[in-house]
């Protein structure tokens, strides 16, 4: 089954007098349980493609399908609902809510998802344990390292067990040890829960974890390499 399908996606930005083609007739299929890295130099279109797949950015033309549902023509609120229930986002900057503890940051998203109050605390502790933050649930972001904060962000993204996780440069602010730890966590989730991962990166170490490496340049897909299975 196809987890993500992009058909002839185009997106152009205007920068002063100059038009920049961020996506130039992009076609992409990602199978359920895929572990895909989008690799491109800066400005190559990987973040724009990721945003289009996540419904954060509407393409100028083309179609985006997630798990068999077309999303490029959805309303803002429908897209928000889709992201809340089916897609997990991990960003380069962790952007946790600074006044909430690790557990509360995860719980906040669950509350919005409508998870009953009695289940939230249990699930939050479980997911924090799963991402290796057992015992740190009461700490606020300022009391944690970058790697730990990124793990909370991952826990927040994964707590609803989304079928699709979109990660934009998730290791950019992490040291190599934390980056490896995070990627191993992604691989484990991919293997155990068949979660589909699409990761935008230009970090060679991250690409090494991918089952499939898609290379982009100037908004076009210029390479699609099948690597190893996990």
């Amino acid at each position: 089954m196809t987890a993500v399908k992009c058909i002839d996606l185009c997106k152009t930005y205007r920068q002063g007098e100059q038009e920049i083609k961020a996506l130039d007739h992009v076609d992409l299929d990602v199978e359920r349980g895929g572990f895909v890295c989008l690799s491109a130099p800066s400005g190559g279109g990987k973040t724009t493609l990721l945003n289009a797949i996540g419904g954060l950015d509407i393409p100028d033309s083309g179609q985006v399908w997630i798990a068999g549902t077309r999303i490029d023509n959805m309303s803002k609120s429908e897209l928000a609902r889709l992201r809340l229930t089916q897609i997990g986002f991990v960003f380069q900057a962790y952007n946790l809510i600074p006044v909430l503890t690790a557990k509360e940051n995860v719980e906040f998203v669950m509350q919005v998802q409508g998870v009953p109050a009695r289940d939230r605390a249990k699930l939050a502790l479980e997911i924090l344990d799963e991402v290796g933050l057992a015992g740190l649930d009461g700490r606020r972001p300022a009391e944690m390292s970058g790697g730990q904060q990124q793990r909370v962000a991952v826990a927040r993204a994964l707590v609803s067990r989304p079928a699709l996780v979109l990660a934009d440069e998730p290791t950019a602010n992490l040291d190599s040890h934390s980056a490896d730890g995070l990627m191993e966590l992604f691989v484990e989730l991919n293997r155990n829960h068949q979660t589909t991962f699409v990761i935008a990166t230009h970090d060679q170490r991250v690409m090494a974890y991918a089952k499939r490496l898609i290379k982009m340049l100037d908004g076009r897909i210029v390479g699609d390499i099948r690597q190893h299975e996990h």
Partner: protein, 409 residues
């Protein structure tokens, strides 16, 4: 505690100095509003009470049309008996009959026009402050003696003092001449120039004899303890006189229409000033919440990307404002009530107030009442407009694009 509530509460204290400053502005304006509105209500109560206490009373039974036409023949028959029956039925002592006429008063060398009130000397002090305002001599003795109390300005104009004789000349109920010679027993001073210059009181029985009233009068005056009791007494009295055709009951508002108008005019100007104060506070809240939203643009972008709707984030901003407003409301109302309570016990005055209040026959100190409505109305308005001012920052989130918001510095 609900996590959204916890989040809203902690967000408030991200910049505690800014929150404290806004709270301070809210609390200060609320204290000011509570005190000023209480003072105003106290002043109005005093104005009404003092005005009505001079002569009008809180309600009167009159012949139909007398209030507007003041014709001598528009009488209430057997007025003393009616007053007595009302006193009995209402179980109230503060009921007194009165008759009124216009006459000329002459001393040995001067003549002035005046209004003469025939009063029950034993009861008049229960419905009017004039008996207590006699500065020279004595008020009318019980009975129907040919004596008169006059205002201080009239006494000066007629050049008479206590013990002097004054000749009254007027028109009786039947149209004939009414004339009498009376002795000045006392001179009163109300502070209201019109009364001190143009009012005199004689015993009711004597008045009825001189003006051929045959037991009739013009007003049964009833005084209540306060305006709430006045409303009840008016209703009850209307029921009691319903069987007497030609008689009507007027409440204080109908008897002194200018009083409410004066209060309304004063309230309008005061509420204009309060409005400015509330708007200033609302702008302070708007500034705080707008800053708070703007500096969290990136954070909002991230949570919107996670699927949290702008509406929910807007409600979070409103909840933060509601919490701040609630603290301002409680703090302002409690401190305002304490300040008002202190002045309620000790009275409020300022330099020059003595002369100002004397012109209106008011005491030189005001004792603002601590009451529920004046305590909550100002803070409630501030709370409401704080919430209104937070609508813009909250609604602004609807136009936020997650991708652009996440790029914000």
């Amino acid at each position: 505690m609900n996590i959204t509530l916890r989040l809203a509460w902690r967000n408030l204290w991200r910049h505690s100095r800014r929150t404290w400053l806004t709270l301070g502005a809210m609390a200060f304006s609320n204290i000011l509003l509570v005190f000023m509105i209480s003072l105003q209500f106290g002043m109005y109560g005093m104005m009404i009470d003092n005005t009505l206490r001079v002569m009008t009373g809180h309600l009167q039974v009159q012949a139909e049309g007398y209030k507007d036409e003041h014709k001598m023949r528009q009488t209430v028959p057997d007025i003393a008996e009616l007053a007595a029956s009302l006193r009995r039925d209402l179980e109230l002592e503060r009921v007194a009959p009165r008759a009124l006429a216009f006459a000329l008063a002459s001393s040995s060398d001067r003549t002035y026009g005046l209004q003469i009130a025939g009063v029950d000397p034993a009861r008049e002090s229960l419905v009017s402050s004039i008996p207590g305002l006699v500065r020279t001599g004595n008020y009318l003795a019980a009975g129907d003696a040919a004596e008169i109390v006059i205002g201080s300005v009239l006494a000066r104009n007629l050049r008479v003092g206590t013990g002097d004789e004054v000749t009254l000349l007027g028109s009786g109920l039947d149209g004939s001449f009414a004339a009498a010679v009376v002795t000045v027993s006392g001179i009163f001073e109300t502070g209201v120039v019109e009364l001190d210059r143009g009012l005199a009181e004689v015993p009711l029985g004597f008045f009825q004899d001189v003006f051929f009233m045959e037991g009739a009068g013009h007003q049964v005056v009833i005084a209540a303890r306060d305006l709430d009791e006045a409303a009840l007494l008016t209703e009850r009295t209307r029921e009691l006189v319903a069987d007497n055709p030609g008689l009507v009951v007027h409440d204080w508002d109908a008897l002194q229409p200018g009083l409410r108008q004066a209060i309304k005019a004063d309230m309008s100007s005061a509420f204009f000033m309060y409005g400015i104060l509330v708007i200033l506070v609302a702008f302070s809240v708007l500034n705080t919440q707008l800053m708070s939203v703007l500096e969290r643009t990136r954070e909002f972008g991230i949570v919107m990307a996670l699927g949290i709707s702008p509406g929910r984030l807007g409600r979070l901003v409103l909840l933060e404002t509601a919490l701040m407003g609630f603290m301002g409301f409680v703090g302002g109302a409690v401190l305002g009530a304490l300040v008002t309570g202190w002045f309620a016990a000790n009275g409020f005055s300022y330099p020059g107030m003595d002369e100002l209040t004397a012109n209106f026959n008011l005491p030189s100190r005001v004792y603002p009442p601590v009451a529920f409505l004046p305590t909550v109305i100002g803070p409630l308005v501030v709370y409401f407009f704080s919430m209104v001012s937070a609508l813009y920052p909250a609604l602004r989130l609807n136009w936020l694009q997650p991708v652009e918001a996440m790029r914000a510095a």
